[in-house]
């Protein structure tokens, strides 16, 4: 156990491992995160593959006479009220859940990071305005905001995306602001000023990159919770409209048949749960990997 190596050699061993590499190394040690990543990769692969396997018009939204068939070898997850294969729809539908949540998180991220960075960096009036309005949005349950927006603008995927990105944005604004405020007070920012770097370079090169860790964690967790929000909205009838094989919409469809055809509810729900679980596992893994407290 006790190897006879000098300090110099020891240092050389760890030489040149950036924080990102360090994080990755720790992430790869985390079983949960690996499971999560593998699941997500498989899911993405499956949904891409489903594009080639199935024909949207006939297999995904088309009609068939094999209605309400329970799970079988032929229809793994059974069929629904218009005879569509639920397995096909679940696999194919992954793209909607993923795209909507990733999309809205991305929009929310951009808006939230900009607002949060401005508020956190400049403080004062900007901070007040941003944070007050953020508080307002924050105090109304997200789902209400989303329901209002979607039902006002009409039920469509784009509106859903918009509605969901608002709640993402509030979250990201908060976290970015808090991060920026912490980082702004760090000595290396002052050091950068002392080196003569202009403000914009400092924000870009030093503040933003150092804010990223919790934001990255937040992104994964957000995508997960947004999948749930999106499906909740579809379930309430204000999300993605019905024939689209979005998981929440499928659940909403299946709800009426829960007794006779429980599988119609079961599988889309399981799909949501497992995907979110995978994202949460990954998020938790990332959090642990990035957490400076555990670094010691």
């Amino acid at each position: 156990m006790r190897k006879n190596i000098t300090i110099e050699e020891a240092a050389q061993e760890v030489q040149g491992r950036s924080q990102a590499q360090e994080t990755l190394r720790r992430l790869l040690k985390n079983k949960g995160a690996i499971i999560g990543m593998v699941f997500l990769v498989l899911l993405v692969a499956a949904t891409i593959a489903s594009t080639f396997i199935y024909d949207y018009d006939t297999d995904i939204v088309g009609l068939s006479t094999e209605i309400f068939q329970g799970p079988s070898l032929e229809h793994w997850f059974g069929t629904d009220q218009t005879g569509r294969d639920i397995f096909a729809r679940v696999i194919y539908g992954a793209r909607y859940s993923l795209a909507i949540s990733i999309g809205s998180v991305a929009i929310g991220l951009v808006i939230g990071m900009i607002l949060g960075a401005l508020a956190g960096f400049y403080g004062g009036v900007i901070d007040q305005i941003v944070m007050r309005s953020n508080d307002i949005l924050y105090s109304i349950p997200n789902i209400m905001i989303a329901v209002v927006i979607v039902s006002l603008l009409g039920t469509s995927t784009v509106n859903l995306l918009l509605a969901l990105s608002i709640s993402s944005a509030t979250g990201f604004t908060r976290i970015t602001r808090a991060q920026v405020m912490t980082i702004r007070g760090e000595e290396y920012i002052e050091s950068a000023y002392a080196m003569g770097l202009p403000t914009w370079k400092i924000i870009l090169k030093h503040i933003i990159p150092n804010c990223l860790s919790p934001i990255i964690v937040q992104i994964t967790l957000r995508i997960g919770s947004t999948i749930i929000s999106a499906s909740s909205l579809s379930f309430l009838g204000v999300g993605v409209p019905s024939p689209t094989p979005e998981w929440g919409a499928m659940l909403s469809d299946g709800r009426g048949y829960i007794r006779s055809s429980g599988w119609m509810c079961m599988f889309p729900g399981l799909a949501i749960m497992l995907t979110v679980l995978a994202l949460n596992l990954l998020g938790d893994g990332l959090r642990d990997a990035l957490d400076p407290k555990l670094k010691k």
């Binding site: 309005s133 924050y138 349950p141 997200n142 209002v148 949460n280």
Partner: protein
């Protein structure tokens, strides 16, 4: 402290004005001609026009808005286009139901999550911790309306133990509250655990141990009281989650609370109900936030001091 509370209450006014303006504006944009809803389909154009005029719908936006705000000040939030009932009364009539559901869920969640969170934290990295965390992870990953549906499938349809929806005795409350409560419990377990883990690493915990305090005393007297601060924050933040959860649980279990009131009203374009209810919701949330902050101050004297300092 009292001054702080008063200041916060006063601060709510502009916030609510802005909020109500936004909602009023949004609902205005949405259209939803009340005349269509109030009158039978075959009403004459003259009747429609007369109704519009009498409801003041032909006035400019701001006039209507200020009339509305004026109404609120005198305690009149308008009447529903759909049911003709007073919006405030309707909301208040529904509120106890939601509070009952949300409150039960929250208590249920706290009863599970705080002991579990503490337990997992003090057994960090053991199999007990892992098991607790897997539970919590599943809990947060599950859409709670789906959980509700699965409950119905199991307990109402397969086993016939519990009613599938509606209100009445305690048996009606169990499934909705468990649905909201479980997800919440999962969330709070995670918060409690990480708060507790943070606290466990603190020096004052070692100080307490070094005094000779027993393990339980250290954990509950010193640890939990400090961990309560982030937990209270989390609970405060989760009220909005409770509301969201309630909207869904109310839909799944036909529970007549405010969540469903609002969703139904939105679906029916019942503008006065939507506007009024959302404003009241905001008031409620603001009050809850204030209450959270006050509870906070009792958990943490440093924050109490801050409140007294802020003039």
């Amino acid at each position: 402290m009292i001054r702080y509370i008063i200041k916060r209450l006063l601060l709510m006014i502009p916030t609510l004005l802005v909020t109500s303006l936004l909602i009023f504006w949004a609902m205005d944009l949405a259209g939803g001609d009340p005349v269509q809803q109030i009158l039978p389909e075959n009403a004459t154009v003259e009747q429609q026009e007369a109704l519009r005029e009498s409801m003041g719908l032909n006035d400019p936006f701001l006039t209507r808005y200020f009339r509305y705000v004026g109404g609120i000040i005198t305690g009149d939030m308008g009447t529903s286009w759909k049911s003709g009932l007073d919006v405030f009364d309707t909301f208040m009539g529904r509120l106890p139901k939601t509070l009952l559901l949300g409150g039960t869920a929250l208590i249920f969640a706290c009863l599970i999550s705080i002991p579990l969170g503490v337990y997992t934290a003090i057994h960090q990295n053991s199999w007990k911790d892992t098991a607790g965390m897997v539970f919590a992870l599943f809990g947060v990953s599950m859409p709670n309306f789906w959980l509700g549906l699965m409950f119905i499938l199991l307990f109402s349809l397969k086993l016939g133990w519990l009613p599938s929806g509606g209100t009445g005795g305690i048996e009606y409350l169990i499934m909705p509250a468990a649905t909201v409560g479980l997800s919440l419990a999962a969330l709070l377990t995670r918060t409690t655990r990480s708060a507790m883990l943070d606290v466990i690493r603190q020096d004052y915990m070692t100080t307490a141990k070094a005094k000779g305090a027993s393990r339980n005393r250290v954990i509950y007297q010193h640890g939990l009281r400090n961990a309560m601060i982030p937990i209270v924050t989390a609970i405060g933040m989760q009220f909005s989650f409770v509301m969201t959860g309630s909207v869904l649980a109310e839909t799944v279990f036909a529970w007549p609370g405010i969540g469903r009131l609002i969703v139904d009203a939105i679906n029916k374009r019942d503008t006065p109900t939507v506007t009024g209810s959302i404003i009241l919701c905001c008031v409620m949330m603001a009050l809850i936030n204030l209450a959270t902050d006050i509870v906070y101050a009792f958990c943490d004297p440093r924050i109490k001091a801050q409140y007294s300092n802020k003039r």
